[in-house]
Symmetry: C2
Subunit: 318 residues, 2 copies
């Protein structure tokens, strides 16, 4: 039995190495994909700019992991005033996972901003966690039109005081934010609360340091040097800090929503647009109408439906 245990032990260590190498390949693939598609996305942007309501129609067909966050009042604004969406991977060389998502708006009755851009940085924490973190983005609401009911402003206020540092005890602003979140409950929050998402407080410096430590551990491991596990467990203090951070979060799934935009809606926009047209055609079915424009849905449809679901059309669980 001891032999079998040893064998299993070795196997488990190999799995960790493998997982790391798979991750590296995946990162490289992400980088190549971004490079290979860059000019296609530029051409797409130029083309769809000529099609009225392209992005609102795409958004109407958004999959549940996006759609669930869009409330009726958000819809009204988005459908009437959204003019474009774009996604860029602004740290392609160091972290192709990092994202900037931009929304452009026509003049509207809700806010004065032309563009709302939300950036997500891919960071690694000293405790081994890695993922997307962000900073709150201010929206200049018109009077009485704040769809977040003042919450986003509170987030900005708490953030500006200390750049989101959370430790020991909360500041007055943080306390009032935390209280408001607790009292509101965030189910049914406006999509625009997403612009207040922060996620874990991990500085660029911490991330660089954590990556260095991991790289050293990997090198040591390859050289056969035993090291005590690089990712340390959380102490009580750290658990408490994490809980405090969470109590200030107005959009807990903000990172998931960012990924859904970047890996589903953005690459699949042509497919979603074609679904929108299809739906439109269906509802016109009984009417004797001369189509004003050729129906893309019809043309894209055959290759669209029931295909291997190339991620550029309709995303599946890839």
């Amino acid at each position: 039995m001891a032999d079998e245990q040893l064998q299993a032990q070795v196997a488990y260590e190999d799995l960790q190495d493998l997982q790391r190498e798979f991750d590296e390949v995946e990162t490289e693939i992400m980088r190549q994909q971004a490079k290979l598609t860059a000019t296609l996305y530029e051409r797409r942007a130029a083309t769809v700019a000529q099609i009225p309501r392209f992005w609102p129609l795409v958004l109407e067909q958004a999959p549940p992991d996006i759609d669930q966050y869009i409330q009726p009042s958000d819809s009204a604004l988005l459908l009437l005033s959204l003019t474009s969406i774009s996604v860029s991977r602004f740290e392609l060389d160091v972290a192709p996972q990092s994202l900037a998502i931009s929304f452009t708006f026509a003049p509207n009755e809700y806010f004065t901003n032309d563009v709302l851009q939300k950036k997500f940085w891919y960071r690694k924490a000293m405790d081994g966690w890695s993922g997307l973190v962000s900073e709150p983005v201010r929206i200049d609401w018109k009077k009485g039109k704040d769809l977040t009911g003042g919450l986003l402003d509170l987030v900005i206020k708490a953030w500006e005081q200390d750049r989101g540092k959370v430790s020991g005890s909360l500041s007055a602003e943080q306390k009032s934010l935390s209280k408001k979140i607790e009292n509101t409950g965030m189910g049914g929050a406006s999509f625009f609360a997403w612009f207040g998402f922060v996620g874990r407080r991990i500085s660029a410096e911490e991330s660089v340091e954590a990556n260095k430590i991991e790289a050293k551990a990997v090198a040591d491991h390859k050289a056969g040097i035993q090291t005590e596990g690089s990712g340390h467990d959380h102490g009580d203090q750290e658990d408490e800090d994490l809980a405090l951070e969470m109590s200030l979060e107005i959009f807990p799934d903000g990172d998931d929503l960012a990924v859904a935009f970047a890996e589903d809606l953005w690459p699949g926009a042509l497919g979603y647009f074609s679904s929108a047209q299809e739906q439109d055609a269906m509802s016109d079915f009984d009417m004797e109408s001369d189509d004003e424009a050729p129906d893309l849905a019809e043309k894209l449809d055959d290759s669209e439906s029931d295909t291997v679901a190339p991620p550029l059309k309709k995303h599946r669980s890839q």
Copy 2:
């Protein structure tokens, strides 16, 4: 207004070109990914072979788009006897979408096969459709143990007579298959009925021809030559044939399930295994137990949870 219409017309044509170019890049990325990960998958197979019940544990954590097709009686067989799963892309150069999915079994009370392999070919039809098609795979059930209740055998019988050709009127075997499917209703069918999936009847020859026609249309279009739409609409006869084909299908979503295996379970196996271990650890929480093996879940966990969900761990809608 006429100008605007013309502009929209041009934009729609550009979208079709763009979609095609996106598809081409996606195919190339798929090819590169397969090449870059090939040796990693080989190493993974060798490593997980040393871990008892690796694949059954992975399958227990399968996402809904796989799990929904596994009935309790399938589970019993799979959990006890499944020894490995592997996925290969056997037409990497011409069609990286084509898949072969193999399941290896220990001796069991249900069937005598050691290996069940299901192949899916990526084909293009003359009507413009493209997707995965397959051929039924026989399972040598032990007496009284057929989990499909005889349906899979009927599919094989009907298939063998004419290699799945469906036209005009059904053969006697096809009729009896169609009737049985109609009477059974396939909700709650065994996972093993999937081995009978056929999908659309598109021969390799038709696919080559359809690709040639499309390539010519694309070249003509680029050269500015007007052609009447390459994908023709279905005639009544073709619609009827399609309906007949569908009436013989015992697993209508067979292609989706193949893609879920290939793009989710297979690349994400290490992540699912780690979830299984995590769950196991949770249920042991209250017991004073000496772990027999180091807990991979604990080690993978930090980077696992709440990360950008690299497709190699838990798949999201990429």
